[in-house]
Symmetry: C2
Subunit: 163 residues, 2 copies
Amino acid sequence: MGASIVKRKVLAAIIAVTAAGAAIAAEMKPEYLVKVRQSGYTFMAWNMGKIKAQTVENTAPFNKDEVAAAANAIAAIANSGMGALYAPGTEKATGWHETKALPELFTDKEGVKKVAMAFNKEANELAKVAAGGDAAAIKAQYGKVGEACKGCHDKFKAKEEKK
Amino acid sequence: MGASIVKRKVLAAIIAVTAAGAAIAAEMKPEYLVKVRQSGYTFMAWNMGKIKAQTVENTAPFNKDEVAAAANAIAAIANSGMGALYAPGTEKATGWHETKALPELFTDKEGVKKVAMAFNKEANELAKVAAGGDAAAIKAQYGKVGEACKGCHDKFKAKEEKK
């Protein structure tokens, strides 16, 4: 084939590689990763709120399907590998808002592992209990998930946004 | 009991009712609901990206547990009753950013039901297929979920944020 075709093919290959690189870079951008992790927690909190209203505060009628679906969403989000969203570069990045993650979250690997595993264990247990449809049991397990959330927040989350 | 104790009890009751009302109001605030729905889509998109990278673009090695967890998160979020996040008042509200929902999303109930049911069906099927661990089958079903996303976006989502 002619030199111009070769040049065109090489150029096409370079563009393809560059485009792929750009796509990967966008997915790895700290701002994006922080947005995603904030989204995960926001969505879990909404579902926690529904379970709380229906089993703890009784401000909404207990609907076992709704509660089971909410518990499943929390567990599935917890199980989806959110650790990747704390990649290097995300320590001080702004997602939807400034990160509230404290510096220790990126250095105390053992401590983080402990609270993360505790949360995942309780969240998965909540999904299991919620499938059973017993409001009192769900309320009790909801409390354990809340404690697991707090266990991480107390150690690794700032009370206010960092300025 | 004395008049001052009665007054104190009445006051406490009023504060309790007002606090509960404020809590419910906060949960129903359009800005909050829009934040939550934007969070749900952002988190699903991250998981779609992981499945795409591992089964369609092959820019990351295929890891069946990771893909299954990603598919589970998408399905569980889809199943969690996101319709409630489109309550009256959320038509033009700003969450993390201005909503891209078009006016038709709040009026064309039949059309919305159709695309929502199609998306949920394909998302649940993706979770089922992903559990099987066959990369080619996951890639095919990932395509169907993508089409279902697009089916809604084409009809009900603005290309740009509304000004």
